[in-house]
């Protein structure tokens, strides 16, 4: 998440080579030095990363966009060109359309429930509170557990008859044993497990940002007669803007590729009611060998992320470079 870098002043290093005009003429010094010249150094240092990245990140995405135009089972070369049929098929497929809708619901829930809760806890842990280091340690701990471990644990917590969920449900005289089996509740249950694992991350981000804001600012507001809430609302919150916007971004990107948790908890079921795009893609690509169709779904995921990222960077994150203080009390 780099800022759009306009940094030409970043050229602080590199005093060894002639300072002006590091442009096209770089190769010319080659003969003068016993060591590899500038071009050689660049090549040697960049090659490993570039090869890995082009071969294993960029190439697969290009291959996927190519394969998405074919009806292909993944064996041999794709030969049966069908144009954009895979894409039209996806957007007519009720499961895939459902994936989009469920993704939207998950993002919305995250914005309305998870991020505010994380923000509140971060503000809480910013108070002088005895034992807050321990609280912080515990709140963040689920983040290091894998999604799989978390999912299996919660699957068992809610397993009918021997789970913790059942015990609590009986106590509340409700029926919790079926949260993952009921199409009406399963998405919310998945959301809760996702939040269980990830809210600590957002809390940490907010906490770090909060600690980067000088105390004097909100103190001054309080001295001027603002209530604690007003000081938070009009001083702290706007200053946390960049971090909040980054968190929204992370949450959206994370939701688009949500797989492990859903796969282990529900396999997308019952009747697709917790399925995500990544699960649909996996199902078609690795189970039904409709690689062309699955590739089209991957590309849609990619384009969604890319378009969202570009849009977000342009419209929303750009303000952050303008200096957060200037929009205090702004539209938020």
């Amino acid at each position: 998440m780099t800022r759009p870098s306009t940094v030409s002043d970043a050229r602080r290093g590199d005093p060894a080579t002639d300072p002006p005009a590091p442009g096209p003429g770089t190769v010319r010094q080659r003969g003068r030095q016993p060591r590899p010249g500038r071009g050689g150094v660049l090549a040697i240092f960049l090659t490993p990363a570039l090869v890995l990245f082009l071969l294993l990140v960029v190439a697969p995405i290009l291959v996927a966009s190519y394969a998405s135009l074919y009806k292909w089972n993944g064996f041999g070369l794709p030969e049966n060109f069908i144009g954009l049929d895979n894409y039209t098929r996806a957007f007519q497929d009720p499961t895939f359309r459902g994936d989009l809708w469920r993704g939207f619901v998950l993002v919305l829930l995250s914005l309305v429930v998870q991020l505010p809760a994380a923000l509140a806890l971060a503000m809480l842990l910013n108070q002088p509170l005895r034992g807050r280091a321990a609280y912080r340690l515990i709140f963040f701990a689920p983040y290091v557990l894998s999604e799989v471990t978390t999912a299996v644990l919660f699957d068992l917590v809610f397993s009918p008859n021997r789970g913790l969920g059942d015990a609590i449900a009986t106590w509340l005289s409700a029926d919790a044993g079926t949260v993952f089996a009921d199409p009406d509740t399963v998405l919310y249950a998945v959301f809760l497990v996702v939040s269980w694992k990830y809210f600590g991350l957002y809390m940490m981000l907010f906490l770090a940002a909060r600690q980067g804001i000088p105390k004097e600012l909100s103190e001054a507001a309080v001295t001027d007669g603002a209530s604690a809430w007003q000081a938070f609302r009009h001083v702290t919150l706007p200053l946390l803007g960049p971090t909040i916007r980054i968190s929204v971004f992370l949450s959206v990107i994370g939701t688009i590729q949500l797989f492990d948790m859903v796969w282990v908890l529900t396999r997308g079921g019952p009747i697709h009611s917790s399925e995500t795009m990544a699960v649909t893609m996996y199902e078609y690509g690795f189970r039904r060998f409709e690689v062309g169709y699955a590739s089209a779904i991957s590309i849609v995921m990619f384009l969604l992320s890319l378009v969202f990222a570009l849009f977000y960077q342009r419209i929303v994150l750009r303000r952050d470079t303008a200096g957060a203080i200037t929009n205090q009390g702004g539209p938020r």
Binding site: F139, E147, R162
Partner: protein
Amino acid sequence: MTVNRAQRTRGLVLHLVCVLVGALIVVPVWFGVLGGFKDNGQLSTNPLGWPDPWLPSNYTDILTSEVFWRQLGNSLLIAVSSTVIVVAAAAMAAFVFARYAFRGREFLVTLFAIGLMFPFAVAILPLFVLLRGMGLLDNPLGVILPQAAFGLPITIIILRQFFRTIPAEIEEAAVLDGCGSFGFFWRVLLPMARPALATVSVLAVVTSWNNFMLPLVVFTDQSWWTLPVGVQAFQGQYTAETARVLAYVVLSMVPALGFYAVAERQLIGGLTGSVKG
């Protein structure tokens, strides 16, 4: 006097909230730990209480089986190798990006930065086809290399930022002392960047340790399974034996939580730092 009391009530309420949230996190895990010492009968009659009697056999069975240790070893091998490769390749690239101006630099930096938002799931299918073509299925390199590749963006971004903070005077001094680019990178820059290297390594280890999709599709041979794949398969195999699966889950959490206890600072520093970048 009243202010003092108000403050104390406030503190109490804050503590109460913290304890409640903490309970939400600790209780499921605690249920798992204790559940591992029970049998199914105990789990249904007494899910939250102490086991009575304590049955260590679920844990000891797993700890004496070869399967668990092999999965642990595989996870470790893959995490360490991915980390070494990604950090080495990224450090070299970040060095060039931070300290050389050359045509196309911004383009390359942007390319890597965009890589930050490639959902991994997008690439998994063609990656699978590619790895199959290269004969890397059921080969740890089939997981290690792609993981390293996908780890490059974040690692390069963090390291580049750090490398930029090292003053040019140091490089000038090194050059006067006869250091070439390689000497400066290896003998001066890397040792100075130790904290940043620790941060990115911790991030890479955690990412690799928790990866599921890639090992799931690359390894059909059980002997290469990593812990996440193993835990999921174990659950499938012993669906009816909840207590035994709980024990497996709990044991698979131990290394991750242990690592967290040791590397908490680097992990959090890395996550918060990368976002600010």
